[in-house]
Amino acid sequence: MARRVLPGLPLALGITLVYVSIIVVLPLSALVYKAASLGFEDYWRIVSSGRALASYRVTALSALAATAFNLVFGFALAWVLVRYRFPGRRFIDALVDLPFALPTAVAGIALTALFAPNGWFGSILGEAGITVAYTPLGIMIAMAFTSLPFIVRTIQPVLEDLDPALEEAAQSLGGSDASIFARVILPLLTPAILAGVSLAFARSLGEFGAIIFIAGNQPFSTEITALLAFIRLEEYDYQAAAAIASVLLITAFLMLAVTNILQARALRYTARG
């Protein structure tokens, strides 16, 4: 191995591996071990029960909708923060991190208060015939709130580093704003967008605190998967809790794998030849 300027590779690597093992790998292994102790038939019965299936459905669809919403809104926010200078820009920039900093339960209670039928937003929306609290729409809003920073903070730095000369070059070649956006800006942002989307989606799938206050938690309609696992835990049915949690885990792994493949494809041009 080539000599490095900074010493301490064995020590640094050792600490990293121990840390990752204790904090990440060990709990996940315990989870898999617990779920595996069920035997295939019992496992399958638990994870494919009607109530579990309904929870996957509402969780996945809400997460999808929340991520789609954040993709549009978060992209616009990142764009405005990077491309324009206006009074209050720094304040809005700081505000983006609020969902990271706020305890999710606090966010959930605040959202519930706002969107409850007698709340500020809820009463107005109620007149228009839209109910948010205690419906999948409420779950979606809670997920969108907590996962917004992932999209903004992954797109923002890449957008900042985009060489303005690229857009000038495209303009001098006769490109319209729309074609420059579609052919130059968007492809260069794609890897960052994919990273942001996958993080936001994963966060939405696993979100718990912000959702349970606003969701109503009715089995078969507004009960999310994380809550179902929590209920099994409360019932001291650890194996069932582990089984349901393992479904979330597998989904998260699959999604990360797909995102990595897509990202690698989008970054093909950086490979040296």
Binding site: E168, A169, A170, S172, L173, G175, S176, Y269, T270, G273
Partner: protein, 340 residues
């Protein structure tokens, strides 16, 4: 296409980048905008391109007032200093970009044929499928040029086109750009801070300082008849000697030079190192050698005069000299400007 700038002004915040510049570039001419950084040369180029708008004055393309035409409709090819190639597109896709986004629809086969022609023109056949990250700096600059030429621009504009390249690559690309210019005869304006590049490449050199044109002319004119100490100093190494002018002769040390048309009184003589000579006896400025620098084509002597000024002389390799020698510096020719 002939380009004409009429008293163009550009101000950034409070900084005046360009002060009323007027300039004409004939159709098919290759013109260099030469100046130190901050002289406004890039701003002028960007205004001609339409990447900046003039605050005052007019820019004409032929007879058409192009001052307010946006860059995408102006029909210029712009080559950026750092190439600005689209990193996610192959070389061929980069070159095809302008044709693909054009309002004039072209078939795929047409575009492919034109890309192949341009790759041949810039001597990059066979590299069409590479990405910009996989080719060298010189190759990237050639791709940038091919991309700019692909849209049949009326005018070609280059911003420090060879600034980021090695000296050898730079010299080759310069000659090659000159060849392409002769082949296509497209009106070309380029910006550089490198006088050698400007003199080597351009039909005409426009020298700028602080947002104003100081002098313009053919390389021969600006080299032989520099109109100011600034131009003299900017185009190459220069020595400055104080002199006294009386009756059309400039006296320097115990020698004199003809100084026709210079008013009597104090003056300064500007002399290239190669126009100074070293003798141990004779007429000239008494001096002492501080250092000798040997070069493949001769020797450069650094000598201090009695007044404490340091002179640089380029002398023939046979001249025997070493640090500490005392002798005389003679002036073969110089340009005399009244002291300002």
């Amino acid at each position: 296409m002939k380009i004409r700038l009429d008293t163009v002004v550009k101000t950034f915040d409070t900084f005046r980048a360009v002060h009323g510049v007027s300039l004409e570039i004939e159709s098919g001419e290759l013109v260099a905008l030469l100046g130190p950084s901050g002289s406004g040369k890039t701003t002028i180029l960007r205004m001609v391109a339409g990447l900046e708008y003039a605050d005052g004055g007019k820019i004409y393309f032929g007879d058409e007032d192009a001052t307010d035409i946006p860059v995408r409709d102006r029909g210029v090819g712009f080559v950026f200093q750092h190439y600005a190639l689209f990193p996610h597109m192959t070389v061929a896709e980069n070159i095809a970009f302008g044709m693909k986004v054009s309002k004039v629809k072209r078939s795929k086969a047409e575009i492919a044929a034109r890309v192949a022609d341009l790759l041949r023109l810039v001597k990059l056949d066979g590299l069409g499928e590479r990405f910009p990250g996989q080719i060298s700096g010189g190759q990237r600059q050639r791709v940038a040029l091919a991309r700019a030429l692909a849209v049949d621009p009326k005018v070609l504009l280059l911003d420090e086109p060879f600034g980021a390249l090695d000296a050898n690559v730079r010299r080759d690309l310069r000659r090659w750009l000159r060849e392409i210019h002769e082949e296509l005869a497209i009106t070309t304006l380029f910006v550089t801070h490198d006088q050698e590049e400007a003199l080597d490449l351009a039909d005409r050199v426009v020298i700028l300082k602080d947002g104003k044109i100081v002098q313009q002319g053919t390389p021969e004119e600006v080299c032989r008849e520099p109109n100011s100490p600034f131009v003299m100093g900017f185009l190459g190494d220069t020595n400055r000697l104080p002199a006294n002018v009386s009756g059309g002769r400039a006296v320097v040390g115990n020698a004199a030079l003809p100084a026709p048309g210079v008013a009597d009184g104090k003056a300064e003589i500007f002399v290239r190192p190669s126009d100074l000579d070293w003798t141990e006896h004779g007429d000239g400025v008494p001096a002492k050698i501080l250092r000798v620098i040997d070069r493949p084509d001769g020797r450069r002597l650094l000598a201090a005069t009695d007044q404490g000024e340091t002179l640089e002389l380029d002398v023939a390799p046979e001249i025997q000299a070493k640090a500490g020698d005392e002798g005389f510096v003679t002036v073969r020719r110089g340009r005399i400007f009244a002291a300002g």
